[in-house]
Structure formats: C-alpha cells, structure tokens
Symmetry: C2
C-alpha cells in the first residue's frame, strides 16, 4: 500500500512552523508526500521539511486532490470554508480551529483519551481541542479512567502565545519598555510607561490591558452571563472529549505574562475514593505525562519547565482537606505543541494508523 499523502494548511504560521519542527524531530514519519499549503501571500515560499525543500502551494480546491490527511491551522472562518472542501476531495481534515469542535458529527480528539473516535467522522472532519482544554486532557483522561471524574474547577494561567505571534511580540515589547522603570509597586502606571515608549495598550494591543507586570482575567470573546468564550470552551470541550456530558465545570481564564505554556490550577472531584499516591501512580504511567511533584526538593511544574517539550508536566498533587474524593493539581503544557501542533499531528498519525 502506498504511504498516505499529508497536507499542512497554514504551513507558514506559528503552529504550522511547530508542526514542521515536530515532523523534523521524529525518527520516522508514516507519510509519502508532505504537501505545504498557505494563503496566496505565502505561496511560492520554499520551506525545509525533513531535509527536503518543499514549495508552499496556494490554498485552492485542487491542491487537496490525492491528499489522504489534511491538517488545518488557520482562522475559524478559513477552516469553516476549506475543511469541507478537503473532505469533499477525499482527505480527512484534522482541524485546529474552533469551527467544528462542538459539531455533533465531528469528533473532538485527544489520542490519549479518545483515539477510537477518529474513525467516527461522518463529515470527514476531526477537530482538535482548544489549547487551554488540551493542556489538562491527558491528565484528566487518565484520572477519569481510574476514579470517575464528576466535577472540575479550573483557573488558568495562560501564555501570550495563545494569542498568536502578535501576542508574543506584544509581551516582548512591553517587557522591553518596562525594563529598568521600576513601576507597578506604589503606582499602577504600567500603562503610562508603555504609552510613553510607544507600545500599544488596550484596543491597539492583542491584549485588552497591559500584560507585563500584570495579569488579565479575560481571554476570548464575551458570551452569555459574563462568561468568556475561552471559559465555555474549557467546559464544553472537556465534556465532549472525556465523554461525560454531565461533567460539572467552572473555569476562570486568566492571561499571564508568560510567553509560551499554559498552566492550570485544577480542583477535580471524582465518584470514587482518591489518594495522592494512587493519582501519582496513574499519572506516572502515562507516556505523555511527566510528574514533577516533590516540594521538599523544590520540584513542581512551571511554564519554564514545560515549554518546548511534548509532555504535560503535572505536580502539586494534593488531596483536598475538606472536599471528599477531590484532588488539587497544577498542570503545565506547551500551548503551541501539545496545545495545538503536537495534538493535531498525533491525531493525523492516529488516522493514518487506523488506515
């Protein structure tokens, strides 16, 4: 049998670049041809993939001819239009946008949790979860299988790169403008220093408030009753991925001045009895999880530990003192890798392996 043809739509973006890095770092890949696709603006560029020059093609219906699996990392509206085109031409579209995640005819897949769902794809489309949800899914899936998850209270510490390269550039620019200024202690004039330095603030920035020397309890768009879109994604996508439609979830999503890697403080309640020891055993047995949890030795997860790596780092595992069957955890996952490019790629691999 011929090796499957893989297409990567959005090849020149931040996540697309990470996807290429991931393929470069693999010992072997199951693909025959690897086709790179982007907007007309980027078409014609030549990128190296596993040591070979590949010319970026313009996004057009016919570029999907002969493609078996097409990974998409493009804005929602581009995916909404083009993933069905790829599917109609015979490809399985693995989409990292928000366009299809809650579509009942589109599986939402994290291979460690629900790899079996990749073959159940009536539209020929498989969705990749939001990066904040993804950061905790491998851990929550493993704990759910063992203890039966019933409820989650989650607070996020989300990185600037969740808002793409403009978010990263903004944070670096803010840090540079604030260096040596010693503001933020007696007065809150971080915004004043940024304005003086010509760094955009508020409406002109990817973030609705200064992010350096600050935290901003907002990510995404406003939904009903004061909830942000990001917070509702954590709730609805967790329910769908874990296959627990009645899962209780409350999330508060907060942007912090970290470049890459989302962290989550999780209060997780189960139907069965839990212990720190049992949880640590379950988590340590997962191939994509690293347990870093020895406060006496100064060991716990921080974004700086997780960035650039594939595994989710889990620590600060504690049994709640007052809530039955409840664990507290702190989880860090690289939002560009497991939170986006890596999971999408792993879904594509899972599809290929399923034949």
């Amino acid at each position: 049998m011929d090796k499957p043809v893989l297409a990567l739509v959005g090849a020149t973006g931040a996540v697309g670049t990470t996807m290429i890095n991931i393929m470069d770092s693999r010992e072997s890949v199951p693909w025959g041809e690897i086709r790179l696709i982007a907007s007309a603006r980027s078409a014609g560029k030549v990128l190296k993939v596993r040591g070979e020059d590949v010319t970026v093609l313009e996004l057009k219906p016919e570029v999907f001819d002969g493609v078996d699996i097409a990974m998409f990392d493009v804005p929602d509206e581009v995916s909404a239009e083009w993933a069905p085109v790829a599917a109609a031409r015979g490809a399985v579209a693995v989409d990292n946008s928000g366009a299809f995640r809650m579509d009942p005819d589109v599986p939402l897949v994290v291979p460690e949790v629900n790899a079996d769902k990749v073959t159940d794809r009536p539209k020929g489309i498989i969705a990749n979860p939001n990066c904040t949800t993804l950061s905790m899914m491998a851990a929550m899936g493993a704990l759910h299988r063992e203890f039966g998850l019933e409820a989650l209270v989650v607070s996020s510490y989300q990185a600037a790169s969740g808002a793409g390269q403009p978010g990263v550039d903004q944070l670096y620019a803010e840090i540079e403008a604030l260096a040596g200024k010693q503001v933020g202690s007696v007065s809150g004039d971080v915004a004043g220093v940024l304005k003086e330095a010509g760094v955009p603030v508020g409406a002109d920035s990817p973030f609705p408030a200064p992010l350096a020397l600050n935290v901003v309890p907002w990510a995404g768009s406003l939904k009903d009753d004061g909830w942000s879109s990001e917070e509702l994604k954590v709730r609805n996508e967790s329910r769908k991925i874990l296959g627990i439609p009645e899962l209780k979830v409350s999330a508060t999503c907060v942007r912090v001045p970290v470049v890459t890697t989302h962290a989550l403080a999780i209060h997780a309640t189960f139907s069965g009895e839990v212990s720190v020891e049992a949880a640590r055993k379950v988590l340590s047995a997962q191939p994509t999880i690293v347990v870093k949890d020895d406060p006496a030795a100064g060991e716990w997860p921080t974004p700086a530990d997780a960035v650039g790596g594939d595994p989710t780092v889990v620590g600060r595992i504690r049994q709640s003192l007052d809530f039955p069957n409840t664990l507290e955890l702190f989880v860090c996952g690289d939002n560009l890798r497991k939170g986006a490019a890596l999971n999408t790629y792993e879904v594509a691999e899972t599809v290929a392996a399923a034949g």
Copy 2:
C-alpha cells in the same frame, strides 16, 4: 481624655513605610504622639510623619511605656518576643506577623467582617491576617452575611512584593536581564539568561524558580501532605475571620510576575440561592469594595487597577453553570495596603474608637 499614643514597630520596612504613607494621606488621625520603633540598625533615623520629624527609637521594653496601641510589622520571631512585651507594658499590640494568628486567645480581625472582636483580646494582642487571605475577606464577608458561605475553591495570582522588598528587587532585576532577549517561546531558557546576566536564580533568589516570564506554584514553606503554608493560611484564617469553623476551603497559591497586588480567582458556594445581580448589589454597597465588572466595555479587575489604592476591586462575577448556589469572582487587592499596612492601621483605628 488624652488622645491615644500610637507606636509603629518596624517603621522603616516596606509595610511600615506604607503605614506612614497611609497616616500622611488621612485628613485627620486620632493619635496624640506617634512613636516610630525599629531595630538598633535603623534607630536614630529621622522620618517625616504628617509633616513632622520623628526620630526612630530602638526596640526596647521601655519604648512601650505610655503607648496605647502598638502596630507591629516585623518577622514572626520578633513579634513572638516583643508583642507580649508591649502588651505587658499596657499597649494593645496589633500584629501583622504570623506568630499569633491562629492563637485562640488572639482575635484575627478584618474590620469590615469582625470589628466587634477587637475588644475580645485576653492577651492584649490582635492579629492581622495573611495578605492573600485578606485580599478576599471584605468581599467574602459581605457575601457570607447575605448568602451564607459554605465552601471556597481559590487560586491565587500573588505578587512579588508578598516576599518583601527582596522579592520586588528580584523581579525588577529579572525583567531587566530578560528585556530584548526574546526567550521563553521555543526554549525555556529563562534561567540561563538570568544566570548569564548575574541575576540570582533558585536557592540564591527570594523565589524558588525564575519569576519573570514564568509562574511559580509555590509560596511559603512545606506543610503536611504537599500543602504550602500559604495555602493552609488561606484555609485556616478564612475560617477564623468569617467565624465558620466548618468552612470548606481548597487553595492553590501561585506566584506571578506582578510587583504588587494579589489577585484571586474564587469559586464560592453558599447555603442560599445566589445571583450575579444580588451579589453585585451586595458588593457595591461595601465602602471598601469597588465593583469593576463590565466585560463588554473591557472592565474587569487587574493588579494594575488595584495597586496603590485602598479598595478591593471585584469583577468577573458569574453564576456557576453547573454548581448550585455558586458564584465565580476575580478579586484584586493591594497586598501592601489592604493586605498588610492598611488593615493593620484600620484595626488600630477600630481599637482606638472602641476606647
């Protein structure tokens, strides 16, 4: 009747300086003499208090003679030794250390919540809560009176100045070393850049890991079963202040690269029915709370909004979608003011008013 004599022990520290600033900014103060006290090293310094030069006295038993109220902001062991000395000489000691907070014979007071407790002081000592707990007490006290608080799940976003001036200096030094370096995205080499710039990291720093471009899920010392001292303070002090010995509390305390102002994401469950509208009404009626909660207009609390001010800023008020009688809130309070100096001073004022 003569005006009471106030002493300030630890007058030259960060919190002591903030206490003097607070007195300077008041229209009037109820004090006769204001006596400044510090260690031998700082004794003899002359500080301005409400426009007058005051010479700092060395901490000795006799400096408390004639003092009615003595505010202490010194390390635990200094308070443990000297607050009883002040009390024995007839002063009421209002102590901001951790030495007496959980002593059953010492009231732990937040005037908005339990001002009546100031007269119930068998040891002549009144304790001021930990800054993280304090940041949410005015809001939680008001909501408890209305709805009956039963459970709290709290994640903190704690500022560097919670670790004192060395914490502030460390964060500024890290920001300066990282400016223009563009690390933290592909690799996590924040620590490497700091080391190269000669900025202390880990054991040599006030923080156990780099704080700039990072978050560190650790504050305080290690207690039983993986809990940090800071997390247990939030639980035990909240129970004592609110007068709810059975209050369920789980806290995860995380240090973030903010100079001053602690933020808390709070999931609060009540015995009675709650609504966002009712909660907003209750909170808006509090003189020391500012409600900033209009996401459509980009309005929510951030540390940069709260720093340097007296009020606690509360927003992101949502009714939990899946947990009955439960509200989600995001609260910001200046940890040096309401979290330390301001509350201590307000307790001293309350003692003076009680006669």
